[in-house]
């Protein structure tokens, strides 16, 4: 449909980057970018050209907090039907995962999208059905659209949606890791457009390029970042013009705005990040599982949550270490027996590294 393959052009881009003779460290925040980089060996090729690329917190399942996982486990335990995306059910909680709860007889269902969860609630009117709504700006509009469309009264969402630009700001403010440029997530950007990234270039003087997901998209995005740095620029550029425009999807933005408000939010591995989470507005509180099942969930309010023992997912998500630098990687933590979420999710850098490492 939209083929973007040209080996010679890839070689040309790489040789142009190499000629620049730079040593730079970029960050992207998208599991699909990581998949393309590792699957096609671009990370290694770019390293030879002086470019290192880390993933950062770009995996919605990975940044979901232990508390949010426990909320879902508790609801499942109370006999409520829990629905969520496939990866989520295998993320270990303090003692169990949703998959364990399912094996114990709890009603846990994997869905492709929120509309499948609503369809299930419509069929089973005698059951309460909760959808664990994880995801960034790409996914949040679908949750909002469903709540606006008056779903059945036995349906609600546990809202775990998060926003990408505030997390980029948090990374720069913390200053723990060197970031010479950001490769911005193409599909988040189809919704938000380019404007929400601009303050980062202005305030922190960090160049940014929104990129698509083909190997050539990513190579070109890196090339564009290198050009910006060589010229002393720090702008927001758009490599993914076939899907992303300046203003984004304004209809989706309006839908999100009418259903959610923005609030601070804890991310796994991070402190609380200001203005990085979405809350369901009071007008839609009948669909807010945290309000609907407040009595059940109140036991978690005062509880202290800890990351799994020796798990370095937090450091991976903040870009401090690569997956392979975690002592548990591939030995005590594998996709069959994951310790942390980065080894569970198809967008987690540990799972991606594990999947392709044998082919290298």
């Amino acid at each position: 449909m939209f083929s973007l393959h040209d080996k010679n052009l890839a070689k040309e881009i790489l040789s142009s980057i190499k000629k620049s003779d730079v040593h730079l460290r970029f960050m992207h925040v998208c599991g699909t970018h990581q998949d393309t980089l590792v699957k096609h060996g671009l990370d290694e090729l770019l390293k030879e050209c002086g470019i290192e690329i880390g993933q950062g917190p770009g995996c919605p399942v990975c940044v979901t907090t232990p508390k949010e996982i426990e909320e879902m486990l508790l609801l499942a335990q109370k006999g409520i039907t829990v629905t969520t995306f496939g990866d989520m059910i295998r993320v270990p909680g303090e003692h169990y995962s949703l998959q364990h709860m399912k094996a114990e007889g709890c009603d846990v269902r994997t869905v492709y999208g929120i509309e499948d969860a609503v369809a299930f609630a419509e069929k089973q009117k005698d059951k309460e059905v909760v959808f664990m709504a994880v995801g960034f700006e790409t996914t949040a509009p679908s949750t909002a659209a469903v709540l606006l469309n008056k779903p059945p009264s036995n349906f609600s969402v546990l809202c775990c949606h998060r926003l990408i630009p505030p997390a980029l700001k948090a990374l720069l403010e913390m200053g723990e890791t060197r970031i010479d440029g950001f490769i911005e997530p193409g599909h988040v950007s189809t919704i938000i457009g380019l404007a929400p990234y601009e303050f980062i270039s202005k305030k922190y003087h960090v160049p940014q390029v929104v990129a698509g997901f083909e190997p050539l998209d990513l190579l070109m995005a890196v090339w564009m970042l290198v050009q910006q740095i060589n010229k002393g620029n720090h702008e927001v550029q758009n490599e993914y013009a076939r899907a992303v425009n300046q203003k984004g999807n304004m209809k989706a933005q309006a839908v999100m705005k009418s259903v959610f408000t923005v609030d601070e939010k804890k991310w796994r591995g991070f402190p609380v990040i200001l203005e990085s989470g979405l809350l369901v507005r009071n007008e839609f509180e009948q669909y807010d599982a945290r309000k609907k099942f407040e009595d059940h969930l109140s036991v978690l309010t005062e509880k202290e949550f800890v990351e799994p023992k020796d798990c370095r997912c937090g450091d991976v998500l903040r870009g401090l270490i690569s997956s392979k630098e975690c002592p548990l990687f591939g030995t005590l933590c594998t996709p069959e027996k994951p310790v942390g979420p980065c080894m569970v999710s198809g967008e987690g850098s540990c799972k991606i590294e594990f999947r392709y490492q044998k082919k290298r």
């Binding site: 919605p60 995801g135 659209a145």
Partner: protein, 77 residues
């Protein structure tokens, strides 16, 4: 999870809320189209059952040529 798949709208339902999307490999699935303004024949990106953005056929076709142009221009500096 932010994976989105490009497909072509081949049929829009009477309520104009859903459309059949052809992904070009024999796969056809329903997608919610309430977040986009589309017509039959348009290409869209579909994420978790929702069309989230239209794809520009023109931009897509011009991508490689644009890359080549940028490379030659960039290197000439």
């Amino acid at each position: 999870m932010c994976l989105a798949i490009p497909g072509k709208i081949i049929k829009i339902d009477t309520k104009k809320e859903h459309a059949t999307v052809d992904y070009g490999d024999g796969t056809k699935r329903n997608a919610n189209i309430t977040l986009v303004d589309v017509k039959v024949g348009d290409y869209v990106l579909v994420h978790a059952g929702f069309a989230i953005q239209l794809l520009s056929k023109k931009e897509a076709q011009e991508t490689l040529a644009l890359f080549r142009e940028m490379l030659s221009f960039g290197e000439g500096l």
